[in-house]
């Protein structure tokens, strides 16, 4: 289980998170919901060790992560698909996946499994990543992350700016991962998606986590969405 307890962090002197706590279990999707600038991405970055904590702790299965250097956090089985994808743009699709496979020493089997999730990539293996469409790039970013066979997956707005069919595909893969027992932290603004795939929703507001509710509770109290996002 991934546990974030009471963390405070930010960029230099600018503090962004004030005592945020949350946890996510294997096979569970936790959605972070909040306005732009609330601190959702900062939270994911601090889990990945990109930002030093001022206080609080992050642990995975009882092992402290916040004391580890960034590159070792991924080795614990935590994968991060950042917003805006960030591929190795000059490398081919095959090479991008290979870089993901190599780091944990995964082989052919993992590669096939990942390509089964995204058959479109199989047709594009020799193409440079920068020449892919937006949707394909998102698939590749996820495929690269899944090549490490993660136990925790952090997804930052994976469906942002994609056409509906692509959104459905990404959601489908997210659900598959959940069913395979991966713990997923998802930043998502599409409420339909949140209601269909998330188990719980953690609201983030001004760097704090005022409440975390189950998705079924959220469906019964739509005014919460109004309260935290300003939309109904």
């Amino acid at each position: 289980m991934l546990e974030v307890s009471n963390i405070e962090t930010g960029y230099g002197d600018v503090q962004v998170l004030y005592g945020v706590s949350l946890s996510v279990k294997p096979g569970e999707v936790l959605c972070l919901l909040g306005r732009n600038g609330a601190g959702k991405t900062t939270l994911l970055k601090s889990i990945m060790g990109l930002l030093p904590l001022k206080s609080g702790s992050i642990s995975f299965n009882g092992k402290a992560l916040h004391t580890e250097p960034a590159h070792l956090i991924a080795k614990h089985g935590i994968a991060y698909v950042p917003q805006g994808r960030r591929l190795f743009s000059e490398l081919t699709v095959a090479q991008n996946i290979e870089i993901g496979l190599m780091v944990q020493g995964r082989g052919h089997q993992t590669r096939e499994r990942v390509l089964e999730l995204f058959p479109r990539l199989r047709e594009r293996m020799k193409q440079r990543a920068e020449t892919l469409s937006g949707g394909e790039q998102q698939m590749l970013a996820m495929a690269r992350a899944l090549s490490t066979e993660p136990r925790v997956l952090l997804l930052d707005e994976p469906t942002e700016g994609l056409q509906p069919s692509m959104v459905a595909l990404i959601d489908e893969v997210t659900l598959k991962m959940k069913n395979e027992g991966v713990a997923i932290v998802l930043v998502e603004h599409q409420l339909d998606t949140v209601l269909t795939i998330a188990d719980r929703v953690a609201f983030i507001e001004n760097g704090r986590n005022p409440e975390t509710v189950t998705t079924s509770d959220l469906a019964l109290t739509p005014n919460k969405v109004m309260q935290y996002l300003g939309v109904s």
């Binding site: 590159h71 950042p82 490398l91 290979e98 870089i99 780091v103 992350a145």
Partner: protein, 314 residues
């Protein structure tokens, strides 16, 4: 695997062509080519760091000079044989690049350029300061009688050509192997997106440090070979100019390609050779040619070749 075989075959063909050229080319040109091959090795070392890892150093002359003085001083003052001299050159380059890499990699981007430039300047000034041993600006000659490797007289033009070719071939295969290996691919990933590579779980800092060392040792090998083959060790080779040369060769030839450094070195050498025959203002001609190349072949000659006709080029 196929990639590795194709790369090796391509490199073998290139080496065979270079060997054949010796018998075709007039003496002047084969002499030039011997020098070009050694400098191309220097550029290949530079390319590993700049072209593949994305780190722009302005202080590689320090590594070239480390190899050169490592060999030169060992042969001059300790009376070591050529082969032990080469070893001394390589070890010196290894130590210097490991230390400089460790320190300079605490910075990145422009700061890395400045820090490497400063270290190289410090190295150059140290050579001048220790003039009693290094003979400062004037440098020293390695006697013809000493320039013998396994019974082969390296002052002979033919032997020198093939010795340069052997060094070039070894380094080309090492680079080809590195580029196709997981390590090489990781370096490219770091060049493309350092933070992403770290997020995937790669120890970026360690990879960059190893890249500086590999790059420094190959550059040092070129420096040692230059001293041994051409018989002269001098502080000129530690100046800023010699840090800029490999950058130019690599940019012109094609950064991030295995043959780019050779193409760039040949091109630069003959460009200056040719233009200095035309006019005293030969740098003007060279400058115009460089501007044209930057405009129309921004990825360098081999880079354009890869982009347009040979996408498999390693």
């Amino acid at each position: 695997m196929i990639e590795q075989i194709r790369t090796s075959l391509f490199h073998l063909l290139l080496i065979a062509a270079l060997a054949g050229l010796y018998f075709i080319l007039p003496e002047y040109h084969s002499g030039v080519l011997a020098r070009v091959m050694v400098l191309a090795v220097y550029a290949m070392g530079y390319n590993l760091l700049f072209g593949y890892t994305g780190l722009l150093s302005l202080g590689h002359a320090l590594f070239f000079a480390a190899g050169m003085y490592g060999l030169g001083m060992a042969m001059q003052h300790l009376d070591l044989s050529s082969s032990l001299g080469i070893l001394a050159g390589l070890i010196t380059a290894l130590i210097v690049s490991a230390v400089i890499g460790f320190l300079a990699l605490r910075t990145s981007g422009v700061a890395f350029m400045i820090v490497t430039l400063m270290f190289a300047q410090a190295g150059y000034l140290t050579i001048l300061w220790a003039g009693e041993y290094t003979r400062g600006d004037e440098g020293f000659v390695i006697q013809q009688s000493q320039r013998v490797l396994s019974g082969i007289d390296l002052s002979d033009a033919g032997n020198r050509y093939f010795a340069a070719l052997v060094l070039f071939a070894i380094c080309l295969f090492i680079i080809g192997w590195i580029v196709c290996s997981g390590f090489g691919k990781t370096l490219v990933a770091i060049r493309e997106n350092e933070e992403r590579a770290r997020m995937l779980g790669y120890n970026v800092q360690r990879h960059k440090w190893l890249a500086v060392i590999a790059s420094g040792v190959i550059s040092g090998a070129a420096g040692a070979a230059y001293a041994l083959l051409f018989g002269y060790v001098g502080a000129t080779f530690a100046t800023v100019q010699y840090s800029i040369f490999p950058l130019l060769y690599v940019l012109l030839g094609g950064a991030g390609t295995t043959i780019g450094p050779l193409i760039g070195t040949v091109f630069m050498f003959y460009l200056i050779d040719f233009s200095s025959e035309l006019t005293n203002a030969y740098l003007l001609v060279a400058g115009v040619a460089l501007i044209l190349l930057t405009l129309f072949a921004p990825q360098g000659l081999a880079g354009e070749l890869r982009k347009r006709v040979m996408p498999w080029l390693p």
